[in-house]
Amino acid sequence: MIAWTIYLTFGGAVLSLLLPRRCARWIALLTTIAGLALGMIVFVGTPIPDLAHFTTIVRVPWVPALGMNYHLALDGVSLTMVLVTGISAVSTVLFSWDVEHRQNEFFFWLLLVVAGCYGVFLSADLFLLFVFYELVIVPKYFLIAIFGSTNKEYGAMKLTLYSFFGGMFVFVGILIAYVSGGSLDLNQLSQFEFSPQLQSWAFPVLFLGFAVLAGIWPLHTWAPTGHAAAPTAGSMLLAGIVMKLGSYAALRVAMNLFPQGFQMWNKWIAVLAVVGIVYAAAVALRQRDLKFVIGYSSVSHMGFVLLGFATANALGVSGAVLQMFSHGVIAALLFAVAGRMIYRRTHTRELDALSGMNLSHAMPFAAFTFVVAAAASMGIPGFSGFAAEITILIGAWKTYPLAVWIAGAGMVLVAAFTLRALTQSFFGEKRVQAEVTTVTSLNWEEFNPITIPEKIGAGMLMLTTVAVGVYPKLMLDRIMPAVEMMRFLK
């Protein structure tokens, strides 16, 4: 049944392109809600033991001569990712409710990204996974280049080229796995013993290729630029789900197929992850553009995911998967506030300009949302970010105690830049207002009120992060068994 998330979303994309303008957003909303509903039903309806194995849902021969199958499968990890895709997609459509410019095209590209993401998370065939993986990238280019804001063409091109740069390595890695292992089936390949010599170089090729999309340091620079250039919906999808494609595929493909290669390289992954966490947080501290702050925070949070992977124990990797879920929600929320609630109304994202506007009075709901999102992002207990990061750090303590100390320092930096962004954007002092009003002649009383779709979207995301934060067992119960089945842990 969960396979219908893919078909419905592709169908919705085509429909929203072909039907009249007015229908586009409704179709987008309906398809994304349907996708989320399917995810929820399967989440509730599947018994937990069934989620331990990567169980086949659909398997149809595709190109028999090359051993390609249209093969979808599901386990706890992919179900978690499908769910976060559904949540982000619905809220993204809600936050794009008033897109007027080339509406049909906008929702077409948007749904194409969502459909591709569902596809990656459910693929059990290497070729199929790569098809969906690359399919996501081009729509992102158009979403950003056509509908974006600051420096959009540069940001879009940079993001696309970085993604395909990673894709090139992934292609080599996949070909090697296919030619040496003689199959494209992920379940079959994960039983195959590749020679250690092959694994020692194929693993880093494949892992790094995927990790580019996950924003690994030092190949992360596309992320802040791309996020800042993208329209709100673009940034929400990009930070919310697309970056997770990279980390998910790194886990599902690179680590699972080449476990010995992973053993050889995992300390280096830990090093890159920790550097990424601290470096991105430090850079975020100095940004003036609110979206750049959030963009770097995404890189920092994705560093935790990679650190979780590098621990190579069930706890750390499960925490990493939970972090993917949690960050998907939190990043969407942060970008929604920055791009939609603030930028659409004030037409600026400069922290200096915002600090004079006293936005907490102008937009109390936006301020509330941002406080919640910031708290979740900082890792305050009770929100999903805390649950995920603490699990990762406990996992990491067993393997790399030093990394925990440095990552802990990174968390302090995260708190610092988040608080800075929060105070400057919403709780700035009035003293500079005179100056600002003369420059921009803005009167906050004229700001449009926060609309109903925005409230629903924000409410949904906040609810999710709190629910998972209060009761992380809900997700971890499903993630842990699936992670424990993976080969690299044995």
Partner: protein, 488 residues
């Protein structure tokens, strides 16, 4: 064998020749009967496809001069279909001056393609090459008022006749050393005799002629001018039908005729033979084609340089040198041909409506004609190798075949080069799409947003080709399994 029987086996070629004559006479009788000529030509091609379907499945005449096999029949159909689409494209042009002659030349070139496809004998192949070449030289220079067209024709002719001379010389050397012109006979002879320097010269010279036809670097210099200057349908035919047939014949010559002197192009295991030669051509084409394409601002010129790169990718399949590699190369070149005919279809309309084919003429195409813009996006993305389009599967098939070939991933260096090349190519294909989808129309600034005018036939042609590209990407098995099954 009676003449009647021969005529039966050569019926597709005969039908096309007759059609050419009929189209020519209609052109003489009624000077402006463009659509009548085109109708006759199209009908003739469809009948020829029917005739191919009626052929027996296996037959070899005169020591390989005329070979009928599932492979030749399949590719005769593909060539006829490409010619058919080329004729549809001619309808998009402003009424040409001599429609009868133009279409007759296209049909004669098609006969050349069919002779090439259906022969496994060097002399017959040479005759096919010349028939094809001479028709295409005239087709390239057909627009007599346009200086660029004359330039295209002249350059194509000079380079082409030079390389024909090389090929003929090469063939004569091969004949001198082996005493045979049939590919199978050459192969058996080569298997028993050691390779002599003179024979090596013969083989390399034969390959040079084909490297010219497929526009592989460094024999590509004619391509940019021919693609840019020739009338759009001629350019489309040069880029599609001529390419497909040349690749098929090149494959047959090296894989059947020269099979015993394959050599090896592996990284640390180079062995003299034709495969290192082709590997060098492939590597050079990928690098030169992609790098020079980066600097282009004219869509047709860009397509020409990208064609050089694509020839390089396709050659990788031959370097692999087995059945799978051959099949992958044929799949890739077929898909490429379909894509390029479609892309030239869009270019033709844009050129007619805006008077040029630079990036600036394409800017804002999405608001002027969403259909054409969408189709062009499909063609460009397929060329760049983006899933789920046919070009992506083609690349995957090619590269996996190349890795399967030598032991220990010997051809990984070539595959890596191909992947780097297609990464670079993505940038310039995106530039075309950026002009179409993102840039505001500079033409529209001058005059109010005018919708592109094109009749339903052109729209349908381009849409059909775009649909084929998508379909072959989603269900590659339709074509791939046929090609694989047809290769013995």
């Amino acid at each position: 064998m009676s003449y009647l029987e021969l005529l039966k086996l050569a019926s597709p070629e005969a039908v096309v020749v007759l059609t050419a004559l009929v189209a020519l006479s209609i052109g003489f009788l009624a000077k402006r009967a463009t659509s009548a000529c085109a109708f006759v030509a199209g009908l003739g091609l469809i009948i020829a496809i029917g005739a191919v379907l009626l052929l027996p499945s296996n037959e070899t005449l005169f020591g390989g001069m005329l070979v009928i096999s599932p492979l030749t029949s399949l590719f005769k159909i593909i060539c006829l279909a490409l010619a058919f689409f080329t004729i549809l494209l001619t309808q998009a042009e402003k009424a040409p001056r001599h429609p009868g002659e133009y279409l007759a030349l296209v049909l004669l070139a098609t006969v050349g393609l069919m002779l090439l496809v259906g022969s496994e004998e060097l002399l017959m192949i040479f005759i096919g090459l010349e028939l094809l070449g001479l028709s295409l030289y005239v087709l390239a220079a057909f627009d007599k008022i346009d200086g660029r067209s004359a330039e295209a024709g002249l350059k194509y002719f000079l380079f082409g006749s030079m390389s024909s001379a090389f090929t003929l010389f090469g063939i004569s050397l091969v004949y001198g050393m082996t005493g045979a012109t049939g590919l199978a006979a050459i192969s058996t002879k080569l298997a028993t005799t050691p390779v002599q320097p003179l024979l090596a010269v013969g083989i390399v010279m034969t390959l040079v002629g084909f490297a010219f036809k497929i526009a592989a670097a460094p024999f590509h210099l004619w391509a940019p001018d021919a693609y840019q200057g020739a009338p759009v349908p001629s350019a489309a035919f040069i880029a599609s039908g001529s390419k497909v047939a040349s690749f098929l014949v090149l494959g047959k010559i090296v894989l059947i005729g020269f099979a015993p002197v394959h050599g090896s192009a592996g990284w640390h295991a180079m062995v003299a033979g034709w495969s290192p030669v082709l590997a060098a051509l492939a590597a050079l084409s990928i690098v030169i084609g992609n790098l020079v394409a980066l600097a282009q601002s004219n869509v047709r010129r860009l397509l020409a340089y990208s064609a050089v790169a694509h020839a390089g990718y396709t050659l990788i399949g031959f370097v692999a040198g087995d059945r799978e590699g051959f099949s992958a190369a044929l799949f890739y070149t077929t898909v490429y041909a379909i894509t390029l005919v479609g892309a030239f279809g869009v270019v033709g309309v844009v050129r007619r409506e805006t008077g040029g084919d630079d990036f600036s003429n394409f800017s804002g195409l999405v608001s002027r004609s969403p259909l054409l813009a969408g189709c062009m996006a499909i063609f460009m993305l397929s060329l760049a190798g983006i899933p789920p389009l046919a070009g992506f599967f083609g690349k995957f098939y090619l590269f996996s075949a190349a890795l399967h070939a030598g032991a220990n991933h010997a051809l990984l260096w070539l595959v890596a080069l191909g992947l780097i090349g297609s990464f670079v190519s993505l940038y310039y294909y995106l530039l075309v799409l950026k002009a179409i989808f993102v840039d505001a129309s500079s033409v529209a600034v001058a005059e109010p947003m005018k919708r592109m005018r094109y009749d339903s036939l052109q729209g349908a042609t381009v849409t059909l080709l775009a649909a084929a590209v998508v379909l072959l990407g989603v269900m590659p098995n339709v074509l791939a399994s046929r090609i694989l099954a047809a290769i013995p």
